[in-house]
């Protein structure tokens, strides 16, 4: 049976769902980590009150200053970890799971870590090109975006009443 490829609407909705999940996780991380540091290690929430460390063993002061970096580091690190991690482990992000989508190689086999990394980097390129990399989804026979073509991946519908499930065909 021919797989049903995920089109603009399904993929768009999955992207929105993932963005919401990521925003919640990021906001949670940026708030929870300083709060934990405040309650467990008695570190001040205001960085101006951290004090000045002159020696390397003054770990508490260094940690207090490091708390500033939790939000920006999370914002940079979490999105790739989230996507690459879920693509590799589950073959789908939570947003894709909500919409019943699955990421596979073009031969309809599960993707590995290297393919996931490659796709994420190429996808970043698609986004930085003002989203133009996503336009081919509208014209491609397999509804592949620019990064899908280059990474050798496809997004397929994989849910109960969809007529195809992974493993049935290895075209």
């Amino acid at each position: 049976m021919t797989p049903i490829y995920g089109g603009a609407v399904s993929r768009g909705l999955a992207l929105i769902a993932d963005t919401v999940v990521l925003a919640v996780v990021l906001a949670g991380t940026s708030w929870v980590v300083p709060q934990l540091a405040y309650f467990l290690l008695f570190l001040p929430l205001d960085p101006a009150r951290c004090g000045t460390a002159t020696d390397w063993w003054q770990v508490r002061i260094h940690l207090c200053h490091a708390l500033h970096w939790v939000a920006p580091v999370s914002a940079l690190a979490l999105p790739p970890l989230y996507r690459v991690g879920f693509w590799t482990v589950a073959g789908r992000t939570p947003g894709m799971a909500l919409l019943g989508l699955r990421l596979l190689r073009t031969d309809l086999q599960p993707i590995g870590f290297s393919t996931a990394i490659r796709r994420w980097v190429l996808r970043l390129g698609s986004i930085l090109a003002l989203g133009l990399g996503f336009v081919p989804v509208l014209f491609s026979a397999r509804r592949q975006a620019f990064h899908d073509r280059l990474a050798g991946t496809v997004v397929v519908h994989d849910w109960a009443t969809a007529t195809w499930h992974p493993g049935e065909d290895s075209r």
Binding site: I4, G6, G7, A8, V9, S10, L13, L98, L99, G100, L138, F139, R143, H157, W159, A160, T161, A162
Partner: protein, 147 residues
Amino acid sequence: MFHRGTERAGLTTQLADAVLRRLLETEVADVLIDRVIQALMRSGELERLIAKVVVDFEASPILDSLVDRQIERVLLELRRSEALQLLIQKQAGDYLVHLGEHPAPVQRLIQEQSRGVVEEFLESLRARALAGDDTVDRWVRRATGRS
């Protein structure tokens, strides 16, 4: 003359009653009644007669009102019945105690219901998204002039 005729008629009636009574006490009467009933059943007349009576009863507004009145009366009595209220309270109490002691089936039922609702929502969302994909494809094909 008139009195004598009346007395004779009375005597005849008494005699007939006595003979009939005596006849009914014998086995002959039982056999006779059995044969009459069997003959009636074989002929189908009895069935037709019963069917007619039932149909007449069903269509009878008098019977309807009679039944309604009886039901109303019984319901009113049940509503006023303290014994019934006690019974219901006891049964409800027993049922609640039973549910408290065995909550697993109810929990399972609620979980299944919730799961069903979520699955239904997801199915609907996915089907709509899939239909949306096809609609967008059609628009693009039409706009670009592709078949």
